[in-house]
């Protein structure tokens, strides 16, 4: 009954049908912001990677310019034609640790078979000792394989890096040396040490190996003929200052590294400071024209054979020299008194300034550190007189080449360099007046091509060689000695000069048996009559030009 009652007591409630789903708007907002945030992040990432992909697409990978951090790395040095002059290669040194040897007699026997030329007394002593020792440095592959086949634990190999100079002694004074720690200690190796160690790009020099070889050969033959203690030759472009060849003898093999202390090995081309004699007369002549005090045809009358300056007497070498000469004839005949007169016309300040401008009197900035400093002196009346004909004034052969380049190239300043420069210098600085070079070159040509000149042995047909000789007494321990420094500076072709060649012989002697072949006339002459530049350096310079001429004419 109760259940029926309960069923009957149905309670009706209002059903509210007004339910509407209302999403949590705040929640949706949060989700959307989150999506937008992630979207933004990915968008940013996509942009970054797109930029990176585009960058890789456009990036020019320059392998050569990447520097290397390899500790013992050293870049190559090449000549102007790309021939390797110095290169670092991996080599292997082999040593023996005596403590690890099992059968000492057996290993000694095997070593004798592999290295028959070695001193086995000392090796035997070392094998029976206790300390590690090298059996062979920079071992060849073949010998290394034979050693390794022995299978002895005591044989120890070490990977090393060696500097190889394929031309041996040909470039010894230019390239210089490195020490055991890969530091440059002289020459290009020292001056460009940082560049060689930090960049993979080889250093390209301006020198030409063929020219260098031919010139060196001629200097070696000069030593056989004239018994000189040393010599140097510089071949340089008068318009760019690029050195095509620079040889100094005696030289040394760069592959046999040794400490060089003997003074005879100095680089005579750059470090040797010499009194060079009459080659300075060309500077006096050029300065006179440049300053407008003389012209080639200016006459000097009543030139004496001797004049006194203070305690010293200045005399002529050629006693048959006429008393009346033009300025050009003074240069051609190498007159001392005439040059003094020209110098006096120029004056101290102007001659000094001229010599400084063409780079003769001060130390030269160059691509190697072995550069000599001309000896300073106090100018005065007598010094002006002696400087006018090249006495009592010193400089280096390289500076001489620079000076002659400037006075022959139209009067434009150049700087000697050993580095190949492909950029053409358009804005050359003129330091001499226009027209000076033409007059000087004409006079230099006559020195070689006429009988009055002192350099007929350099008159090689087809090359229009001009030049000036200089015979000077060598200063030894502060005093003039009987030893000579014979120099010849050649400019060619004189109609449009391209090259300067300085040839210097240090202490040449006369040769009794050498046969000279005349260039301006037929016939020969046996024996050296005078120990002057005209009979020594000029002959060698002529032979050099004869040999290198075809290369210069066809290649440069």
């Amino acid at each position: 009954m109760t259940e029926i009652k309960k069923k009957n007591n149905l309670t009706l409630e209002d059903y509210e049908e007004n339910f509407l789903y209302e999403g949590n708007k705040n929640l949706i907002n949060i989700s959307f912001n989150r999506v937008a945030f992630i979207f933004f992040i990915f968008l940013a990432l996509a942009i970054i990677f797109s930029i990176k992909a585009t960058y890789f697409g456009f990036e020019k990978v320059d392998i050569e310019k990447k520097s290397t951090s390899k500790e013992n790395f050293r870049s190559s040095i090449v000549d102007r034609n790309g021939n390797i002059l110095a290169k670092t290669v991996n080599t292997i040194n082999v040593g023996i640790n005596p403590n690890l040897i099992i059968d000492k007699k057996k290993i000694l026997l095997n070593l004798k078979l592999i290295f028959p030329n070695k001193n086995f007394k000392s090796i035997e002593n070392k094998i029976y000792g206790k300390n590690f020792f090298y059996i062979e440095k920079q071992i060849s592959q073949e010998k290394l394989e034979r050693l390794m086949l022995l299978g002895d634990k005591s044989i120890i190999t070490e990977d090393r890096i060696s500097r190889i100079y394929p031309h041996g002694e040909l470039y010894s004074h230019i390239l210089g040396q490195i020490d055991d720690d890969n530091n440059g200690i002289s020459g290009i190796e020292k001056y460009f040490d940082y560049e060689l160690r930090s960049s993979k790009i080889p250093i390209k020099l301006s020198v030409d190996s063929d020219l260098q070889y031919l010139i060196r050969e001629e200097l070696i033959s000069a030593k056989e003929i004239f018994q000189n203690i040393g010599s140097t030759a510089i071949l340089m472009s008068v318009n760019t200052g690029e050195i095509l060849s620079m040889v100094s003898l005696p030289d040394f093999n760069l592959n046999k590294r040794k400490e060089i202390k003997d003074l005879k090995y100095i680089n005579r081309a750059t470090k040797g400071v010499y009194e060079l004699g009459s080659v300075f007369k060309t500077f006096t002549f050029a300065a006179g024209i440049n300053e407008g005090v003389i012209q080639p045809e200016t006459e000097f009358k009543g030139l004496k054979q001797r004049i006194r300056c203070g305690k010293n007497t200045i005399g002529e070498y050629d006693e048959k020299i006429p008393t009346d000469l033009t300025a050009e004839q003074i240069l051609i005949r190498s007159g001392n008194i005439g040059s003094v007169r020209i110098g006096q016309k120029i004056g101290i300040e102007k001659l000094k300034s001229f010599l400084e401008n063409i780079g003769i009197l001060n130390k030269l900035e160059f691509d190697i550190e072995e550069v000599g400093t001309p000896i300073k002196f106090k100018w005065g009346k007598c010094k002006l007189a002696t400087t006018s004909f090249g006495h009592g004034v010193t400089t280096t052969p390289l500076q001489l080449a620079k000076g002659y380049s400037i006075i022959s190239n139209g009067g434009f300043s150049i700087n000697p360099t050993l580095i190949k420069n492909d950029l053409i210098k358009k804005n050359k600085k003129r330091i001499l007046k226009k027209g000076v070079s033409e007059k000087v070159n004409l006079a230099l040509r006559k020195i070689v091509s006429t009988d009055q000149g002192t350099a007929e042995f350099a008159n090689i047909q087809g090359y229009e060689v001009g030049g000036k000789t200089g015979t000077a007494q060598k200063i030894i321990k502060g005093n003039y000695s009987k030893a000579k420094i014979n120099t010849f500076v050649a400019i060619f072709p004189t109609s449009k000069p391209k090259f300067v060649l300085v040839t210097l012989l240090d202490e040449p002697k006369i040769s009794k048996n050498y046969v000279y072949k005349y260039r301006n006339k037929k016939g020969t002459y046996k024996g050296t009559p005078f120990n002057t530049a005209g009979w020594t350096s000029v002959e060698i310079a002529g032979k050099i030009i004869e040999k290198i001429g075809p290369i210069l004419a066809t290649k440069y």
């Binding site: 999506v35 937008a36 990677f49 390797i84 190996s209 063929d210 087809g462 075809p550």
Partner: protein
């Protein structure tokens, strides 16, 4: 619709980013391999060049000439060497130097 668009863009970006990253990595590896190969070839080339420079140096060539040939090297007369210019259909032959 907006949600779908956003999600699809998002997926597209993720996908494209992955692809780009992957391809960049492949390119990176290829570049590295090429650089390494070039380096090895350069090393070999320089060693061969070193041998060549040594064997063809003027000193060696003169040695070979004396060893293997009977005839001696002769001096070239510069006056006998001529320059040839090709200009249009003309052939111009010039001397190297003035006859002084």
């Amino acid at each position: 619709m907006k949600k779908l668009f956003s999600v699809s863009i998002l997926l597209l970006l993720i996908f494209s980013t992955t692809l780009i990253k992957k391809s960049t990595k492949i390119i990176d590896e290829e570049i590295f391999e090429i650089i390494e190969n070039i380096r090895i070839l350069e090393d070999k080339y320089e060693l061969v060049l070193l041998d060549y420079n040594f064997l063809s140096s003027p000193k060696k060539l003169i040695e070979y000439q004396e060893k293997y040939f009977d005839k001696k090297l002769t001096q070239i007369d510069i006056k006998k060497i001529k320059k040839i210019h090709f200009e249009k259909e003309m052939i111009i032959i010039e001397n190297f130097t003035n006859n002084d």
